[in-house]
């Protein structure tokens, strides 16, 4: 009993921090509708600033606290509001991605400014005072202050939301943005208040937590998975429930540390406990009403079969050219363009067509890789299909509970699933289940063999790259066919309105399970190929953090576009390595790129892949320019193969010629057009045409 009490008190002190961070998350989410993955990163920046002021520049603690909490944090909150406002009207995935981008950007910035190898001791508050003994447990003054602050935050938020005008405005904005606007409230102002307050709460949490954990950019930014669990307990809406959730999570972690029996299977369970709790909290959610017509929907582009075939062929050609010009080491570095491209492509049917957000695609790819590693020693191709099949089953299993979830809740649920795999499942030693021996990463790394395709053993980098390119091409074409099929249209209908879909006789369960299974199978294929290229794999290559950039780039590329696979693979792998390869000093700025790209996403909501397609279309359709470009590239390629020019010249010349001819083709295509005649003058100032009647009818129907 004594021990029980002790661990309870210990748990409460942890809970206080989760409560502060979780309440900030809830506040911004309810007011702005954006779930801020960068919340912890904001706290991290505050902690570093606080360290810089107090330890680095010897500013007295009270002044430093005031500077960070009252000047820097609000300023940063306003900056966040500015960055996020353009995407607020976009879909769930886009809103999620911008904060993921911020997270990665802020970590890169902090690592750039504050050298991670320098020790940064930060002492707790009142470290020299003797801790308070409560029975057998001991509470330090720092912990006591943390609990006190949590209570003050709770009371303060309550007063703010229910007793002040700003609070009423914020609540009104949550309930009905448009109506609040009509009543004279200013939703933008409410948003600003929410961001400022949220950032301040993150800053308080960061400063309180930093002395008890390591002052390390990524650790501080990612620690708050447990705080997410607390926030989800409050359904991202209720502050009191969030506080209750924090207590549950804090105490659970503490009791598991104290009481969990020790064997080699269970420690991971404790590490994954917050994620399991998060998943459980999501699942006991009351079943929500089916979502009606989602707002801000964008049309999913419809690829032609000819276009898709062309894209597939181009992918294969790209793979062959790349494989022939790269050295052995570069083949490993750039090989994932195609394999991770397939993983990125798996987002297209799932998130692009069906509107389901999943953050665990790379984890599923990891399962595909493990299946290949454990069964595919001999390189039999059927194992590749088995890997896809097993991934499909896993995907279907995820879909079952996910049926209750959508939007950001689904994203959190799948993220929790990824964390459970990372921290528990992937690190398990092998065990027997129903007579089958199941092993994952053998608690280390596992070797991967190349496949044996029709007696053709593929095991060097070139062969594997071409093989991966062929697989990506096939998958891309398959997804294009899916988009054009009846099933594809159904998925889009599901995205557009679940309620309408169900009303018209669609089976939600089957549709969702099927699309999850399909995209998991695609991801599994990508994972197996990725593993083959790397030859040996470790769980770290497939964890949640590694998967976020792929999701980020896939969303930036445009989730609806079938060309997204090859785009995301190239954009993710290509520039980052190539630029650093040319100029070593660019390492730090390049680390910022994904973050910046995400932050700029508000300007290209359809996705960059779609825009590229639009920009390059004139060239692709031009009868002279296209053959010229192809000829130049082919010539350069031959020159490169014979070592007349080097790889960079090849790349440079091809790019310059392609861009120049594109401009030329674009100018030609858009050249002379007859002047626009207003509708009312049709038939008078110009001749009446056969199609005009339909154009007018459609115009009237559409308005």
């Amino acid at each position: 009993m004594e021990q029980f009490l002790t661990f309870g008190i210990v748990g409460l002190s942890t809970a206080a921090i989760y409560a502060i961070i979780g309440s900030g998350l809830v506040l911004t989410f309810t007011t702005t509708g954006v779930f801020n993955f960068a919340h912890g990163a904001a706290g991290m920046l505050a902690a570093f600033s606080y360290w810089q002021l107090t330890v680095g520049w010897d500013v007295p603690v009270p002044i430093a606290l005031a500077l960070v909490l009252l000047v820097l944090a609000p300023a940063f909150g306003l900056l966040l509001e500015l960055i996020i406002r353009p995407v607020q009207g976009l879909g769930d995935a886009e809103r999620l991605v911008i904060t993921v981008a911020l997270l990665s950007g802020l970590i890169a910035v902090a690592r750039w400014i504050w050298d991670p190898n320098k020790p940064r001791p930060l002492s707790t508050f009142f470290a020299d005072k003797k801790p308070i003994d409560i029975g057998p447990a001991t509470v330090t003054w720092h912990q006591a202050i943390t609990m006190g602050v949590a209570i003050v935050v709770a009371i303060g938020l309550r007063i703010l939301l229910y007793r002040t005008r700003a609070g009423a405005e914020m609540r009104a904005t949550v309930d009905d943005r448009a109506l609040a606007g009509l009543a004279g409230a200013d939703p933008v102002r409410a948003n600003r208040v929410a961001w400022v307050l949220g950032t301040q709460l993150a800053a308080i949490g960061g400063i309180l937590i930093a002395p008890t954990v390591t002052l390390d950019a990524s650790q501080l930014a990612l620690l708050i998975v447990s705080a997410y669990a607390a926030a989800v307990f409050g359904r991202l809406r209720s502050l009191p429930l969030t506080f209750l959730g924090a207590v549950v999570v804090g105490c659970l972690e503490s009791y598991l540390t104290g009481y969990l029996p020790q064997n080699q299977y269970l420690p991971g369970l404790r590490l994954a406990a917050p994620a399991l709790l998060l998943l459980a909290a999501l699942l006991v959610f009351p079943h929500q009403r089916l979502a009606g017509r989602a707002r801000n929907l964008r049309q999913v582009p419809l690829p032609t079969l000819r276009g898709a075939a062309f894209l597939a062929a181009a992918t294969v050609v790209f793979g062959v050219v790349l494989a022939s010009v790269l050295g052995e080491a570069d083949l490993i570095t750039y090989g994932p363009i195609f394999s991770l491209g397939i993983v990125a492509l798996s987002y297209v049917p799932l998130a692009g067509f069906a509107g389901q957000i999943s953050l665990c695609q790379l984890s599923i790819a990891g399962i595909g890789a493990v299946v290949w590693a454990q069964l595919g020693d001999g390189g039999e191709v059927w194992v590749l299909f088995a890997a896809m099949g097993i991934c499909a089953v896993v995907g279907a299993l995820i879909a079952l509970p996910a049926l209750r979830l959508s939007g950001v809740y689904l994203a959190l649920g799948t993220a929790a699933f990824a964390v459970i795999l990372d921290r528990w499942i992937f690190t398990l030693p092998s065990f027997d289940l129903l007579g089958m021996k199941i092993s994952f990463f053998n608690q280390g790394s596992v070797e991967m063999a190349g496949p044996d395709v029709f007696g053709w053993k593929l095991d060097d980098g070139q062969e594997l790259m071409v093989f991966a390119a062929v697989c990506l091409a096939l998958a891309t074409f398959g997804v294009a066919v899916l988009r054009r099929s009846r099933y594809g249209r159904r998925l889009i209908a599901l995205r557009d309105s679940e309620a309408a879909y169900a009303t018209l006789g669609g089976n939600l369960l089957i549709a969702r399970v099927a699309v999850f299974a399909l995209s998991a199978a695609i991801a599994g294929l990508g994972g197996a190929l990725y593993g083959m290229q790397q030859r040996s794999i470790t769980p770290e290559q497939f964890n949640l953090v590694a998967g976020l950039p792929i999701f980020l780039i896939a969303v930036i590329g445009g989730l609806g576009a079938v060309g997204n696979g090859v785009f995301a693979g190239t954009a993710y792998i290509g520039p980052l390595h190539a630029v650093v390869g040319v100029a070593k000093w660019t390492e730090n700025p390049v680390a910022l790129l994904p973050g910046l790209a995400g932050a700029g996403m508000g300007h290209e909501p359809d996705g960059i892949a779609v825009r590229l397609r639009r920009q390059w279309d004139p060239l692709l359709r031009h009868r002279v320019a296209l053959p010229v470009v192809l000829a130049v590239v082919a010539l350069c390629w031959i020159a490169r193969l014979n070592d007349v020019i080097n790889g960079w010249t090849f790349l440079g010349v091809s790019l310059v010629v392609a861009v120049a001819l594109r401009s030329w083709a674009t100018a030609k295509a858009t050249a002379p057009k007859e002047p626009e005649v207003p509708v009312e003058w049709w038939g008078l100032r110009r001749e009446w045409r056969a199609e005009d009647k339909e154009v007018l009818a459609r115009g009237i129907a559409g308005s």
Binding site: I107, R111, P116, N117, S536
Partner: protein
């Protein structure tokens, strides 16, 4: 040399785009601003004429020409931002080249930044260009070992981490390897049988949740049992960090753990010890592991913790840096760093790398003009008692799998690390470590036969 743990840190934080600092590039050297020696001497410690001019004419192997030898150095700099291996390479090569190189051939350092996940790529590049690998290490070095053996590239590592690489073929570790023996047998035997016998019944173990550290944890557990200890508590912490160490501290207290082995980042250990100190629990000893050796841990842990908790670690026979003044070889490394890389810190891995460089240089010098991989590897394997000129305790390199005999223990004080009272019997070291052969099943080091080659292929 099996500083498996030395890089556990890196592995622990794998793939977090950040993180894990080991002794770093902070601008202080352990010995303060030492004055540079007035004239460059060709001797190092008790090694005579390590580098000297000569008139080589031939180009007997890849990476070797009449004027230079190209040597690869692996390091995760892009990930850890810690350039200690490159610094050591820079200092050694500058010094050696000032003396005329190895028999007249200049040492050219080919830096390979493995960035944690790019070990294979860098190994393939090294295979293409280099004569051998010297004085480097990567956290996930097991990923590159097959490639290295396929291209018959000899390795004189500064560090080895993964079981596949530790003690693999064509590898001469300057501190000895002994991959089938427990590396810290002497240390734990001293802790559990002599210094703190009361702690033997309640040893605790905390590992970072990374596959690499978990394997090390299992080996440590076996080693502790062999040394007569009972593991009363064993736990993991997530690589992504932990928001509050108090539950762990409370657990350690309630299980009455007397001695704690910590296989993880020293930044985390400092916080765990703060939590232990806050709840008023003092252990007999905490094995901070040699990652923590350096001023960083001392600064992070702070006076209060260091004067309460008893942090110890095993340098496994490397002469302690804080006493450099008492050992000519260590003093010379510190002076050479001050001269050729004044802003770099002399760290434990840097000393180990330096020992590896000296081993390579001495072995290569015996080959004369006809410098081949086989010659340099065979020459290194003839060293019966390699001390790196006095940087380390003698290691028998003639047997690729011989148990380590010597250890030396350090303890942390508020003023920094100092030798503990471990009853040294051979200079600064104690060389009567018991032999503990592993009985558990662990990954085996990769051999030439695994990649279809044999020593006969090494030219």
């Amino acid at each position: 040399m099996k500083p498996q743990r030395t890089l556990t840190t890196l592995a622990v934080a794998a793939l977090l785009v950040a993180g894990c600092g080991r002794d770093g590039s902070s601008k202080e050297s352990t010995e303060g601003p030492a004055t540079a020696p007035s004239a460059v001497s060709a001797d190092f410690g008790d090694l005579k004429s390590v580098c000297q001019p000569g008139k080589p004419t031939s180009s007997p192997a890849q990476g070797v020409t009449a004027s230079e030898i190209k040597l690869g150095v692996m390091s995760d700099v892009g990930f850890t931002k810690n350039a200690e291996f490159f610094d050591a390479a820079k200092v050694f090569s500058s010094w050696c080249n000032d003396l005329g190189g190895i028999n007249g051939r200049k040492v050219v350092v080919d830096q390979h930044d493995t960035k944690m996940m790019e070990v294979r790529q860098r190994m393939i590049e090294a295979c293409r260009d280099d004569f051998a690998l010297v004085g480097g290490g990567a956290a996930l070095d097991g990923m590159g070992v097959k490639d290295r053996l396929s291209c018959l590239l000899p390795d004189f590592p500064g560090q080895t981490v993964q079981a596949e690489n530790v003690g693999s073929d064509l590898q001469v570790a300057a501190a000895g390897s002994g991959s089938s023996y427990f590396y810290y047998a002497g240390f734990y035997s001293w802790l559990l049988k002599e210094a703190y016998p009361g702690s033997a019944s309640a040893v605790g173990l905390i590992n970072g949740d990374s596959p690499v550290t978990k394997v090390i944890g299992q080996k440590t557990e076996e080693g502790i049992r062999a040394a007569g200890g009972t593991v009363a508590y064993s736990d993991l912490y997530p690589a992504s960090g932990i928001s509050d160490w108090t539950p762990y501290a409370q657990s350690i207290k309630s299980k009455n753990v007397k001695g704690l082995v910590f296989n993880g980042q020293y930044t985390q250990l400092a916080k765990l010890e703060q939590a232990l100190t806050n709840i008023g629990y003092k252990l007999d000893w905490i094995d901070a592991n040699n990652n923590a050796y350096g001023p960083q841990f001392v600064s992070l842990a702070g006076n209060q913790v260091l004067s309460t908790q008893n942090n110890v670690l095993d340098l496994s026979g490397v002469y302690p840096l804080e006493n450099a003044a008492g050992n000519p070889a260590t003093k010379q490394v510190v002076d050479l760093f001050a001269k050729y890389a004044p802003s770099a810190q002399v760290s434990l891995p840097a000393i180990r790398a330096f020992s590896a460089w000296l081993l390579f240089a001495k072995s290569a010098a015996t080959c004369g003009d006809n410098l081949t991989r086989k010659c340099v590897y065979d020459a290194a394997r003839t060293e019966k008692a390699w001390t790196g000129g006095g940087l380390q305790a003698p290691a028998d390199l003639t047997n690729a799998d011989a148990p380590i005999k010597c250890f030396n223990v350090e303890k942390a004080t508020p003023d920094g690390w100092q030798p503990a009272d471990f009853k040294p019997n051979t200079g600064a070291y104690r060389c009567d470590a018991p032999v503990t052969k592993f009985t558990g099943s662990y990954a085996k080091p990769v051999t030439l036969a695994d990649v279809g080659k044999s020593m006969a292929d090494v030219k």
